[in-house]
Amino acid sequence: ENWCLTSEEFEEWSRIYKLKESDGVKEPILPQSHFETLENMEEIAASQAEDAHKLSLSEWRLWQNRPFPTHLVDHSARCFHFIDVMEMIELMRHEEGDCSYELEIQPYLNMNDI
């Protein structure tokens, strides 16, 4: 009924879910985003120290080449775009010199559109 956990719920959370030092698990954090062409305005996260487990957004990217099974919520359009781009990169990975993408799209270039 209230936004706040009841004392029973809090006890349950603290017992089962809360990460404690005794768990021997480092706090997982996302790597700080760093801009190359914009002024970096993001707040520096407090725990960017060694005792945090930095998650990787790129380590498993090669496996993100198809939509994995969903349960109640389908994949987003952004997700499908990512998958398609990963697939494109895979197809072009071993190209040397001439670029198939460029050869395919070049005939449509109209300098009036620039």
Partner: protein, 32 residues
């Protein structure tokens, strides 16, 4: 576009390379 290109360049330079290849764009894609 500039951000993507610059991040790709940084990735290539971090690997001591003087050319940005598609792999470098791939590596920065998720965070981008």
């Amino acid at each position: 576009v500039r951000e993507a290109a610059a991040r790709g360049a940084r990735q290539a330079q971090a690997e001591d390379l003087d050319r940005v290849d598609i792999e470098h764009v791939e590596k920065v894609l998720p965070q981008l």
